[in-house]
């Protein structure tokens, strides 16, 4: 049997804390949420939507439609200009800074532009979420090495992340997002920079995480990707969120 990804199940079973899978409890709730940058007209307008725990969605829309903006509220980098956003049941408008940090640890983010810490090695980038949690270095090594082997980055594990290709950066970003087994995974164009083969493999990873209980939202332009995987789609148009299928 293989060990890659094995940690995900192994930990699950070992610690006996299997994630709550599909239920009706909303993990993210948006009520009348609007977002505007400065004095500009709002990018997102009165969005009402709730993501069930354990669901998986595509988020689509033209370039500039506001996909990244919507995700950035969900990963708690911005607060809605109007309306109520609840993540893990906490009203974000009323959550203090330290609590926010702990909520963010339960969310994995793959940024459209990767946002790796360029001065650190691939290894240290992926290890970061575990170090924040204060995990023991030995266990961190074990997990990171395994995951990096799985995303085919063993050969440049200790290379500075500024010195790898775009596709490799994307895989590092994904590894960093999933290493901590997030309850929510937000991926912004995660397959934009990799060839088809790797894209398929990454989609399998997301699907597997989702199967294990992670709520997944993938922002993408790719019709091909959405056609191939039959997850429900959310489309952003003129600032409104439309549910398709």
């Amino acid at each position: 049997m293989l060990e890659s990804l094995g940690y995900i199940t192994a930990i699950n079973i070992k610690k006996g804390k299997k994630m709550e899978t599909r239920g009706f409890e909303p993990i993210v709730e948006m009520k009348n949420v609007s977002l505007a940058y400065g004095d500009n007209p709002p990018v997102l307008k009165s969005i009402d939507f709730a993501f069930r725990r354990g669901s998986m969605h595509f988020l689509t829309g033209k370039s500039g439609a506001g996909k990244t903006s919507l995700l950035s509220m969900l990963y708690l980098a911005q607060r809605p200009t109007e309306g109520t956003l609840k993540v893990f049941g906490s009203n974000i408008a009323m959550t203090d800074r330290d609590k926010m940090a702990f909520l963010r640890r339960r969310i994995g983010v793959v940024f459209q532009d990767f946002r790796l810490l360029e001065h650190l090695s691939v290894f240290d980038n992926v290890a970061l979420p575990l170090r924040l949690k204060g995990m023991k270095e030995k266990e961190i090594r074990q997990r990171v090495i395994e995951l990096l082997a799985w995303v085919d980055l063993s050969h440049n594990m200790y290379v500075k992340s500024s010195e790898i290709s775009g596709g490799e950066k994307q895989r590092v970003a994904i590894a960093r997002a999933v290493i901590n087994r997030p309850e929510i995974l937000l991926a912004d164009e995660p397959t934009g920079n990799v060839d088809n083969e790797i894209a398929l493999k990454l989609m399998k990873l997301f699907a597997e995480l989702n199967r294990l209980g992670t709520t997944v939202i993938i922002a993408t332009h790719s019709e091909e990707l959405m056609e191939r995987y039959n997850y429900p789609r959310l489309k952003l148009e003129n600032g409104h969120l439309e549910y398709i299928k």
């Binding site: 980098a77 911005q78 330290d98």
Partner: protein
């Protein structure tokens, strides 16, 4: 689950070999490079160099100033005990023997009632005789000679005795009496030393102020340069405390090294000034001592300044982080 994983593995890009369990094990055995794992790199730009220089110079200045104060202090303490606890008053005799006697009594009475004077003793004729014998032989009737009378005056130790005031008051009592002005001069010197100490304290405060400015500047600059990194750290779930400690750890280490350099440079300077002070020792002071305890104080400066830097930087950073996402 097993099937799913097998499935994933089959879809691995064929050009790259499947990572065997043994390969992963091998990777785990390798020792990772010992590169810096600091999530917040501060070793870029001028702000760190600037901080290093400021801390080294500050610690140097503090070390010099402090050793000056400590040295002067020990001189002060040693001298004060000896000089200030007694002084001499001399009374030039009047032509008339009776008047001279009266004058002497007046002065003694006056001094005995004067605040902070413990004891007044007139040097006896025998004592005077002993003093002048070498010059005039031993067959002299002191009473008949116009030799000044000497009074030994003991004052309460450790009080700031005002000789000037005493001098004025004394001249009102007797025009013949005068205070031995060697003591007066020394008391003025001690006053001067005290104002030097105030000056030194001012220097210390200014240096501390300059350092705080430098630390705050370095911390703020660094946070501005690394805004993106900090945003990423925040989004991944780092608390303000985690980020601040990460930075403080580095800045404290940097300051500790800079502080040690500053202190080491100050040592030769202290030694030179110290030996110069020893040169004047014979003239004025009894002991210029710069003992082990003073050196210990000087060598604790890098540690103290590093702690100071740590606290200042921590406060600055946490305050600033609160305004970020």
């Amino acid at each position: 689950m097993e099937n799913f994983n097998e499935d994933i593995m089959k879809e691995k890009p064929s050009k790259k070999p499947r990572p065997e369990a043994s390969k992963v094990k091998e990777l785990r055995r390798q020792t990772p490079p010992t590169d810096s794992k600091n999530e917040l790199p501060i070793d870029e730009g001028y702000s760190k160099t600037f901080l290093r220089v400021v801390i080294a110079v500050s610690v140097f200045l503090i070390s010099i100033t402090l050793s000056g104060v400590l040295g002067i202090n020990s001189m002060f303490e040693n001298s004060r005990k000896q000089i200030v606890s007694n002084f001499t008053v001399q009374i030039i005799p009047l032509p008339n023997y009776e008047e001279s006697r009266k004058d002497l009594l007046n002065v003694v009475n006056f001094l005995e009632k004067y605040p902070n004077i413990k004891q007044v003793s007139v040097l006896s004729d025998n004592e005077l005789k002993a003093l002048i014998e070498p010059w005039l032989g031993n067959n002299v009737d002191i009473e008949l000679l116009p030799i000044p009378k000497l009074l030994d005056v003991q004052i309460t130790p450790n009080v700031d005795f005002d000789y000037k005031k005493l001098m004025i008051r004394l001249s009102e009592v007797s025009s013949q009496a005068s205070i031995n002005d060697h003591n007066l001069w020394l008391s003025r010197l001690l006053k001067f030393i005290n104002s030097l100490k105030v000056l030194a304290l001012t220097v210390l405060l200014l240096v501390a102020l300059a350092s705080v400015t430098a630390i705050v500047y370095a911390a703020q600059t660094s946070l501005n340069i690394h805004k993106d990194t900090i945003n990423i750290l925040h989004i991944i779930g780092a608390t303000d405390n985690y980020i601040a400690l990460n930075y403080v750890k580095q800045i404290t280490y940097t300051s500790l090294v800079a502080g040690i350099i500053g202190t080491l440079i100050s040592v030769p300077a202290i030694l030179v000034v110290g030996s110069m002070a020893k040169g004047i020792e014979a003239g004025i002071f009894n002991t210029v001592s710069f003992g082990a305890q003073n050196w210990l104080t000087i060598f604790s400066l890098p540690v103290l300044s590093a702690i100071f830097v740590a606290i200042t930087a921590y406060i600055t950073i946490v305050k600033k982080l609160k305004n970020m996402i």
